[in-house]
């Protein structure tokens, strides 16, 4: 076995589950499989650029591949549900509906950073490597994203009432 083959095998064995899970959390199943396949193909072609800790790099490739797939899907005018950025995450959060709605209200950057930490289990330093930002900037973004998520959760925990202007009762 060639050294490159061996290295690819190691990267593949160690990360295939994580990459497929990453894609599955963010996209419909069929798109997720394509994304994972494309990610490892790029990994093979650019093996010399893959850092020793490959997973953050693979996530970055998968994220860009996912964005490309979504753009292609838009051009093909496929079903709207497949195009929503949070469609994969939304189904993943089905058993915590308040969190699902709050999470969906975040911007794409906030969602991705929080998901890398909470779902992919990356450290902030690894997340920074995946997102291409400095660890310090990533830490600041992380705390801001958490604060925004907490604010959305706070708003959602109270049902939205509408009342008669003169109503004395309180619905929440």
């Amino acid at each position: 076995m060639q050294p490159a083959d061996k290295r690819f095998e190691e990267i593949y064995r160690r990360n295939v589950d994580a990459v497929l899970a990453y894609a599955r959390r963010r996209a419909p199943a069929d798109m997720a499989e394509d994304v994972a396949a494309e990610t490892f193909l790029i990994c093979w072609r650019r093996l010399d650029r893959v850092p020793e800790n490959a997973l953050p790099w693979l996530y970055a490739v998968a994220r860009k591949t996912l964005a490309n797939q979504r753009r292609a899907a838009v051009r093909r005018a496929t079903t709207q549900s497949a195009l929503e950025p949070s469609s994969g995450a939304g189904s993943a959060l089905a058993h915590d509906p308040t969190l699902r709605v709050a999470f969906a209200r975040l911007g794409e950057r906030d969602r991705e950073l929080l998901a890398l930490v909470a779902w992919e289990g990356l450290s902030l330093r690894e997340a920074a490597a995946s997102l291409g930002c400095s660890p310090v900037a990533c830490r600041v973004r992380f705390h801001r994203a958490k604060r925004r998520l907490a604010q959305h959760l706070e708003q959602l925990d109270a049902p939205r009432p509408i009342r008669r202007p003169h109503a004395q009762g309180v619905a929440r």
Binding site: A92, D96, P97, V101, W119, A158, P161, G169, R172
Partner: protein, 235 residues
């Protein structure tokens, strides 16, 4: 991985696709072997097809439980009521409120769940899964309609919903909807003493003439008197 931050821990707990559970080992081995056995000069487009095919096969091996909705954990609401037109809500007599209800995209039909102590209960579920409810009392100005996010009610997290949620009993009414398994809803003071108690029948409860006192919490109890849910009230 353990998360010390409660918010990140909650987000992590909502992840039903844990790493390491997706690709069946035999599929993974077969895929890798097929990739590495190809002549190097043929790698590239051929590999991509191989990877796609293998990953599609892997998807078949995904445990169904990994993606299953956790319906079993969610409390039910047995009372399905009878369909009535949404336009019968008193709010529809107020132009602005009728407009607001339409903006909330209530369906044209809702379910009349019943009447308790002069309070009439309506509910509906929107196409997006939101649970919407309304209560109407002929003799009391407690009207109001509300919608909650999909899955929030009925659920273990919120097995009751209704009036009041704050500590204000201006209308003197404790009324609402209760999930299956809830037998009684009590309002207790800060010391835990019961101020008012409403039995639940067919998922509905209503108590009127509630004294104007500072409430500490609303609690939901099962048939044995066990507290299943406690909702502190804020001043």
């Amino acid at each position: 991985m353990r998360h010390d931050d409660p918010l990140i821990a909650r987000l992590a707990a909502a992840n039903p696709v844990p790493a390491g559970t997706l690709v069946h080992v035999s599929v993974r081995e077969r895929l890798l072997a097929s990739v590495l056995e190809e002549p190097p000069q043929h790698r590239g487009r051929v590999r991509r097809r191989t990877l796609v095919a293998a990953l599609v096969a892997a998807a078949v091996a995904v445990p169904a439980a990994a993606f299953a909705d956790r319906i079993g954990q969610i409390f039910g609401l047995s009372n399905q009521g009878t369909p009535v037109a949404t336009s019968r809500l008193p709010e529809y007599q107020d132009t602005k409120l009728a407009e607001a209800i339409r903006e909330m995209q209530w369906p044209a039909q809702m379910q009349l769940l019943g009447e308790r102590n002069g309070v009439t209960f309506y509910a509906t579920r929107k196409a997006n899964g939101e649970f919407c409810f309304a209560m109407d009392a002929v003799t009391r100005p407690l009207e109001g309609v509300s919608c909650v996010p999909p899955g929030l009610f009925p659920s273990p997290k919120r097995p009751i919903i209704g009036l009041p949620v704050g500590d204000r009993f201006n209308a003197g009414v404790l009324a609402g909807f209760a999930a299956d398994g809830i037998a009684r809803v009590n309002v207790v003071d800060a010391a835990g003493a019961t101020i008012v108690s409403a039995p639940v029948a067919d998922n509905l409860y209503a108590a009127v003439d509630v004294p104007q006192v500072q409430a500490g919490a609303i609690v939901a109890l099962d048939g044995n008197g066990n507290v299943l849910y406690r909702q502190p009230v804020s001043g």
